[in-house]
Amino acid sequence: MENIAETFIEAGTLMVVGMVFVFAFLSLLIVAIHLLAKVGRYFPDPISVEKTPRHLPSSSAMEKPVPAPIVAAITSAISHYRKNKTTK
């Protein structure tokens, strides 16, 4: 039983040390993220070209013109599929 008592103490120590460490680590990470946010303000996202049409009044998912490359992708997908249909 001595042995078990010892292991209990070890397990208890592990529990305390482990939880303290996890909290300390993630708390430090909170600090780091706050710093990151401050630095981040000086590196704003580049203004994306894609977002412009969003503001057009009549836009809906259906009316968005399908980008030509997607049309090409679909075309090639279909021919690709036809080619592969006979493959084992």
Binding site: G18, L26, S27
Partner: protein, 376 residues
Amino acid sequence: MESIITLWESTGLANFHYQQLIMMAVGLGLLYLAIARKFEPLLLLPIGFGAILTNIPIAGFTEAGGLLKYVYDAGIDTGIFPLLIFMGVGAMTDFGALIANPRMLLLGAAAQFGIFATLFGAIALNLIPGFDFSLKDASAIAIIGGADGPTAIFLASKLAPDLLGAIAVAAYSYMALVPIIQPPIMKALTNEQERKIEMKQLRHVNKFEKIIFPLAVLMMTILFLPAATPLVGMFCLGNLMRECGVVDRLSSTAQNELINIVTIFLGLGVGSKLSADKFLNAETLGILALGAIAFSIGTAAGVLMAKLMSKVSKDPINPLVGAAGVSAVPMAARVVNKVGLEANGHNFLLMHAMGPNVAGVLGSAVAAGVLLALVG
């Protein structure tokens, strides 16, 4: 005549041990959970199938030259498969919600109490005759409370390979059971008023912040806990590939084809540990019981921490989001959302719960590192 005898002696019928039949039933049970109940099917289906293959008499899947032995030795014993899964999961994870509200990390920390309390519980089980968990065994079992499959498999392969099968099955099963295990605990620890709390909309997070974040996490892990760097490092590599915007083809492969390939083999390899002699014993029952306790304690700790934070915070915090701290991404966050909606039909907590949810992944990786450093 001789041929017929040889043939008979090489049938399964002539060679079955009843334990193998039981283990095949376990494998079929896992397949049932995966297919009919949709419990973490990506893992439980190959694990269940691997369990069946492993227990086929004579076939020798896990003996020298057997397929599953190759898979286990190459990918699980080395730790490569769980690390690659972690890279893929990193490439799938959006830390935006966490960066926008970093206090949520405390919830991810609190929920790890499930791990450390279970460690204590596993040692306590030794008081019951028939159980003899070493500290390494107990640590590997406790990590089930981290609610993170690859972390559990990685740690178990280092600390207690013999228990790996039961630990992995428990981890994935309870992750799948999150929608059943968590809500009662969440409701017991909160009142209607608390569950109705709506949270402030999250701020926009820069691409810059998202790129630096995985590097910052890695640097901190290097400074304070190198033992966790295999897990955290591969996770951060995946996340960096995702966010940096210049290696999209690598990121896409990491979160699709590569993770799919590895998942199949990881599952089969884990299944290869579900052999009768390593699974059919009291320890497995202990592990399953401890796993359920671990999940429950982790959930409770997260919710209680959220209640505490709610009291000292100027911005409102719905204590339900604490339950997402166990990780089990994204299931736990969805459960939070659902329970929140039950209390308040306009309360969409999903994004708010994603913060503690991914914090839980980091938290359990850190906890695994602590266990490796102190016990491994």
